[in-house]
């Protein structure tokens, strides 16, 4: 039995639903639920009613409602592509109903931007004792970047020392300003202070203050800025030989100008302001004004390039490799009506789910992606739309 319940009906969900629908060998039946049932119905229409059996409205903040839904559907696995604020309520509901769990982004409390795994790692014993598995962060970054690191450590090095994850969206959506995934989460991530791991401790930087101009395969040179990104926390824990681990993302000048203006006037704040007698969070209102990331797919040109530079030692020799994927916005749109940022997150969610359901990665407890054998995951990336490449190269970074 490989019935899945997918919770969430945004841009990433649309990719997960459609990719799962294409693969009945892993996913015999698909059920879909989100706050707005009309979005689920649209996805059901697009993926086919024979594959998406039934859709439901659910408030994913509400555990009893989730429990009732899960008990009704009786899936083997819940794929959570709702908001990161809702990870814990969905995990609680999975525990209560005896169902496995997978997500693509770590739990975030709504009031503070944290990006840390502490809350979800605290579920380790509960999931183990229940004989249930929770797979955390099965998107691209986190997700594929963790698997790339595990793959490099397994096949290319005796010890890995330097890790630089690089994320470039070389696409053009033609909008004045838009975020490629949930604007609320995206802006929280970018406006926080930068952080990286070096010599056994976390070091902080001002937001968007450390820049490297990096050359991206298929795209060219792009200004890349040091950010904290959640996979750094688990990678540093699981690869204790790492001397340094960093994450870089590209932003154009126009994007940064928009961000600075919006931040400077307080529009990216998560502190509520008084408006016509109500408390409204500016960042949430901003999200309502900005384009829906799902709407960017049509006419989106160019491609993404996301990968990891890893420097380490093999047989006493230091070397560097780069493992990466290029993903074209237009090809994603043609295949599943999505842009590449949704696609690169949704496909790994489907692959992680397939590896849980077919037993390859099934193990009770709460796990990050790098804790499993990377080989079957790497194979399915090539099979299901995210082919990767690896080269030995000089590191573009100084030590």
């Amino acid at each position: 039995m490989s019935r899945v319940l997918i919770i969430g009906a945004g841009g990433v969900s649309s990719v997960v639903v459609k990719k799962c629908a294409m693969l009945p060998q892993y996913f015999s039946e698909i059920y879909l639920a989100s706050r707005t049932v009309s979005k689920c119905e649209k996805l059901q229409q697009e993926a086919g009613k024979d594959r998406v059996k039934e859709v439901f409205a659910v408030d994913a903040d509400n555990v009893p409602e989730l429990v009732a839904l899960i008990n009704k559907v009786k899936p083997a696995l819940v794929i959570n592509v709702a908001l990161p604020y809702q990870d814990l309520t969905i995990m609680d509901a999975c525990l209560e109903t005896g169902v496995h769990y997978l997500d693509t982004a770590n739990y975030e409390p709504k009031e503070v931007a944290k990006f840390e795994y502490s809350w979800q790692w605290a579920y380790q014993d509960k999931f183990k004792q229940a004989g249930l598995m929770a797979l955390l962060g099965s998107g691209f970054d986190p997700g594929v970047t963790n698997v790339f690191t595990a793959y490099a450590a397994k096949h290319y090095f005796d010890e890995i020392h330097y890790l630089d994850i690089v994320d470039c969206n070389g696409g053009d959506h033609g909008q004045a300003f838009a975020t490629n995934f949930n604007p609320e989460i995206n802006i929280r991530e970018i406006t926080q202070r930068g952080r990286f791991w070096e010599n056994g401790e976390w070091k902080e930087t001002d937001p968007i203050s450390v820049r490297e101009d990096l050359d991206y395969h298929g795209i060219g040179k792009r200004a890349s800025y040091l950010l904290f990104h959640e996979e750094l926390e688990s990678l540093v824990k699981h690869f204790p030989t790492l001397k340094r681990a960093r994450f870089w993302m590209t932003f154009g000048d126009a994007y940064l100008t928009h961000l600075r203006v919006l931040e400077g006037i307080g529009m990216t704040s998560i502190e509520p302001v008084e408006f016509q007698g109500q408390q409204i969070v500016p960042l949430e209102f901003l999200k309502a004004v900005l384009p829906d990331p799902g709407s960017l797919a049509e006419g989106y040109t160019g491609q993404t390039c996301i990968g990891t530079y890893i420097t380490g030692v093999k047989d006493g020799q230091e070397k560097t490799i780069f493992i990466w994927n290029n993903c074209e916005h237009a090809i994603c749109h043609e295949e599943v009506g999505a842009q590449a940022v949704s696609y690169t997150t949704g496909v790994p969610a489907m692959i992680g789910a397939s590896l849980m359901l077919d037993g390859n990665w099934m193990q009770p407890g709460v796990w990050n992606m790098e804790q499993f054998d990377p080989d079957p995951f790497m194979e399915r990336l090539n099979q299901y739309g995210l082919p990767w490449q690896v080269i030995e190269c000089d590191s573009p970074f100084s030590k």
Copy 2:
């Protein structure tokens, strides 16, 4: 009897209240009302309870409520420094109760940015028949700039041909972005298409697309942009010899970047967006996030320079004059706790009111400022805080 009722309790109102309070010879008793009574109480406290007799809460959109308030207070004159959306309801209430009316900005319907006098000019017969007077636009621009033009026409020219009103705020409030008066009205004014009068017709320009670098007395050279401003409409009507009439305002690059970003993403739009089940106007929410213009006064350095270049003919000779006022933010703050943009609007409102109440300008009907003898107004500008200067000069503009 020279009892006045002031409606509105924002930055401009605070100047009007305090200046009226200083001049019992014109204003024997002051009453104050606004939507938020606590703002009125604060102003009453600051101006003195012996001068501001009583304060009231009133919804200025509601004619019966206004009528009841006016009947209770029985003022000779209502000074309207509420929102421009409320001009017509307050005029209606004045007509119903037999009370004179003054405002500082033309009526604006909420749904469209128009900046035109048609709605208020349509009250001409009603006010005349009722033996009541309505004085429109008694601020600085409109207001003083109209009087400057009338003064030039009266004393310096046989015929005026070219009019350029220039408005420079050379001050620094130390905020990332703030508007100096109601952000909603300010941004509506700036983001509309430019418009000017030339050879008998209105000509349009893209917003903020026509620039001149002008030298402002006491400030220096500043980039100045062609805007439509409401006094152009009445000045062109009342001075039919004008071959061209334009309005220019200075904006710094940072201000324009902020404006472009906010406009580009739709935050300055007056079209409501759906947010958590409600319809919210982005521009109104933006106003809630931006600093209250009244809060800018403390620590605001520098000065404003607003004036009119007028070119015309006297005794067969062409010449140009510049009439202007410089106003220091810090001096305004010291005198009445306001910044210069509020001060330069509030003082002319008080002067216009004083000229109505002492009979100098009293005449039934609906009038713009340039339709009266400018001399007593010009005299009171010098007496009450807005001294002006006039010079003959070369025009900085080409024909």
